[in-house]
């Protein structure tokens, strides 16, 4: 064994054992930030889940009395806003933060402090939305905030919380998108060509571009809503000649790409999990990548399928019907590739694999019901019914959430060093799968029978009672499955099996380093020679193409005395300070004109944070 590089030792020594709240508040380590994102999104997942359960309890029987109409409106608005902006997006950011640099063979993202800023803006944005519950009620105009519903009632500030909260959450995502794009283009290890990047890294890149180009559109829309409410502008005031339809266009121009922002990370995770548990490379790898890119482009051309009842006229409706049918093609390509990957593989049905297979099955159902929406007359019937609710939950829960849980089970041993219990994991999966289908499959029937969305109660005798009751039973089953996951996580902390570097016989670079990874990720920056490089380090092929282990091939690379020293980003207090300033600013803006004082304090705090930031001596970024 070669002599250890002194730089590795001193890097490990000086960064190791940094503990305590302060170290987390000032961290610029992409892995710690990834963990913060992960834990935060899990907490918000529980909040959003409780909101969903309240909705289901209210609808369990006819004439429900659990929630008032007002409380119900807050619940469905906040359930969606929470799950989209505070759970799935940040959960994807958690995986991307933690994994992207490691998958690329890098030691951090391009801008570690900007990364911290993104996280702190996100968490303050979540806090900002949450406190609205305690100061006069949470937003209640739907997560889509349709004008003029969102602009007319200005004495109640709920929708100001919504407009400003979503605005700064968008800023957080925009900054991390810029960071990830720059990371992908500049931080890859030697030999890691773009086409050799793991598919998860590719999907994260496509998501970053989608964020980059869709967030500014909704940002303008949100500014216009806020100004209509607070400055008396007339963007959406039909009486003065404004057109509420503009809001719908701006919202869905963002909103449809957003669907792919939510689903592509899960598709990336599944594309990593399936090959490992099938012991085969991803079938048609480049097709998966290019169809992801195609989805990214086409995602901007289908938005008006959310507006088929808005009276756009036959030409627009026909166009968007066609583009909507067309975008199913690259998605279908992916599904065939995943099936082709599993086909003929030596399949291990471990928990990550179960969740990935569950993802494929549920996503196919959600995708097909989605295609039915492209048929305009049929969509006109389904519009605003539970059929739509069923559809997008199959995509976002059956799809995104199943995929994300697959990722959690898959990378948990890498991140914590311990394997989650397989028995409990499988129980979690099956209960969640059954509960999920009990909850959302009946909603197809309810919707086709005409049950409207966003209505807080329904009378007896319309044929809605039975399936609503089943759906509520299903939602409680999901809750139990989540409880089992939490118990599993807790048990694993105390007595989980030690994972080792490579518990699943993985294919990508993260499995070549210790679990959990050292702060500097790699003792030696790896040189990449192939797709699935780590696999090829471990196995060669015999004449019939069967893998033959290479002795010692999976051993970690050890730095020699000649390897260059390691640069790690310093911790910084300024990101959290600047993010806190933004929190004060938006809080002040809710209560204009008096709140302008607070907003002013907020702006000064932001400037202070950014000034300190630019004056701070740096280790990596400044040379």
């Amino acid at each position: 064994m070669a002599t250890l590089n002194p730089a590795v030792e001193s890097a490990t020594a000086s960064h190791h054992g940094r503990k305590g709240v302060w170290s987390w508040m000032t961290t610029t380590d992409h892995k710690r930030i990834g963990l913060l994102y992960g834990v935060s999104s899990l907490l918000f997942f529980l909040v959003g889940g409780v909101e969903a359960l309240l909705i289901r309890l209210q609808l369990a029987a006819a004439d429900g009395t659990v929630l008032s109409a007002d409380a119900y409106n807050q619940m469905f608005t906040m359930h969606a806003t929470t799950m989209v902006f505070l759970v799935i997006m940040p959960a994807a950011a958690a995986f991307t933060n933690y994994l992207l640099p490691i998958l690329l063979g890098a030691r951090d993202v391009a801008f570690p402090r900007l990364n911290a800023l993104s996280y702190w803006i996100y968490i303050f944005g979540g806090l900002f939305l949450t406190i609205s519950f305690f100061v006069g009620g949470a937003p209640d105009g739907g997560w889509f905030g349709y004008a003029p519903l969102s602009t007319q009632v200005t004495e109640i500030v709920r929708m100001d919380y919504w407009a400003l909260g979503v605005q700064i959450l968008g800023l957080a995502s925009l900054l991390s998108a810029i960071n990830f794009i720059t990371t992908v283009f500049t931080m890859r290890a030697p030999g890691m060509t773009l086409m050799r990047m793991p598919v998860f890294a590719w999907m994260a890149t496509v998501v970053a571009f989608l964020l980059l180009f869709s967030l500014p559109i909704i940002a303008v829309g949100l500014f216009e809503v806020f100004l209509d409410r607070n400055l008396g502008t007339l963007f959406f005031d039909a009486a003065a000649g404004g057109t509420p339809l503009l809001w719908q266009h701006l919202f869905w121009l963002f909103g449809h790409p957003e669907v792919y922002i939510l689903i592509l990370p899960a598709m990336g995770i599944v594309s990593e999990v399936l090959p490992v548990f099938s012991r085969k490379p991803l079938f048609g790898r480049s097709f998966v990548i290019f169809s992801g890119i195609a989805i990214g482009f086409m995602g901007f051309g289908v938005w008006a399928h959310h507006m088929f009842v808005a009276g756009l006229g036959p030409v627009a409706e026909a166009t968007f019907a066609l583009t909507t049918m067309l975008i199913a093609v690259p998605t279908g390509v992916k599904i065939f590739n995943w099936i082709g990957t599993v086909w003929g593989g030596s399949v291990r049905l471990a928990t990550p694999m179960l969740f990935s297979l569950g993802f494929i099955a549920m996503f196919v159902i959600g995708g097909l019901s989605g295609v039915t929406h492209s048929i305009v007359p049929s969509d006109t019937q389904q519009h605003d019914t539970y059929y739509i609710v069923a559809h997008f939950h199959y995509v976002l829960f059956g799809g995104a959430v199943f995929g994300l849980f697959g990722g959690i089970y898959y990378w948990w041993p890498k991140i914590t060093g311990k394997l989650l219990n397989e028995g409990l994991g499988k129980l979690h999966f099956w209960l969640m799968l059954i509960g999920f289908n009990l909850t959302f499959a009946p909603m197809h029937i309810l919707g086709l029978r005409g049950m409207p969305r966003r209505t807080y109660r329904y009378p007896k005798g319309l044929g809605f009672e039975f399936w609503n009751f089943i759906a509520t039973v299903g939602s409680l089953t999901i809750a139990v499955s989540i409880l089992i996951f939490l118990i599993n996580a807790w048990r694993t902390k105390a007595r989980g099996r030690v994972a080792g570097n490579d518990p699943w016989d993985g294919r990508t670079l993260e499995w070549s380093i210790s679990s959990p990874p050292p702060e500097h990720n790699f003792d030696v920056v790896p040189v990449v020679h192939a797709e699935d490089d780590f696999w090829h380090r471990k196995y060669r092929e015999d004449e019939e193409g069967r893998p033959v282990p290479i002795p010692g091939g999976g051993d970690p690379l050890v730095a020699g005395p000649d390897d260059p020293p390691i640069h790690l980003p310093s911790p910084s207090f300024y990101p959290i300070l600047a993010a806190f300033g933004m929190f004060l600013t938006v809080l002040g803006l809710v209560y204009v004109p008096l709140g302008l004082v607070l907003a002013g304090v907020g702006v000064v705090t932001v400037v202070w944070g950014l000034f300190g930031w630019s004056m701070e001596p740096l280790t990596r970024e400044e040379h």
Binding site: F111, I181, A219, L231, G232, F235, D237, G242, H623
Partner: protein, 197 residues
Amino acid sequence: MAVLDHTEHAGHPDLGNVRKIAMWAFLGSECLFFGTLISTFLLYHNTTGDGPTAKEIFSIPFTSVSSFVLLMSSLTMVLAHHAAGRKDWRQMRVWLLATAGLGLVFLSGQAYEFTTFVHEGLTVTTSPFGSAFFVLTSFHGGHVAIGVLMLLATTFMSFGGKLHEGQGMNVELVGLYWHFVDIVWIVIFTVVYLLQV
């Protein structure tokens, strides 16, 4: 941190390049931001209600002059960048300050223009046309103001001495941003002013 040895940079990407890519990505996003604002304006350019119309209120000669001033500031920005390339820090500071000065002249022109319009009866609450006009041009003005602050900060930091290595890069980044804001103005001047009268 003590771990670092600043003589050895193997394996690290060129920082200037990293920042430039980030700036390009950001400006790509900004294109959509201004594109959306301009689209909103185009939707409402005739929705003037009882308020003044574009024809009645715009003074093309005045706005042409302030547009010319902003265009000239792109020239001085290029000169600052060239000076930084020659490591002629004194010249660079002069041109940076000139750019900031021209930016301030443009902003004063905008402030004057806004005041005039308000006197003539066009505010954000007069008509959707007024809302769209003021919000679009204010966001652009805000971008110019941030650019002026960046120019002044770059000038100020160049006295610190320690930044000499990265100096050229900073000027290049500010320059990218500044040219972008100028180009956006050319589009606004054409679409919002020239095409409407």
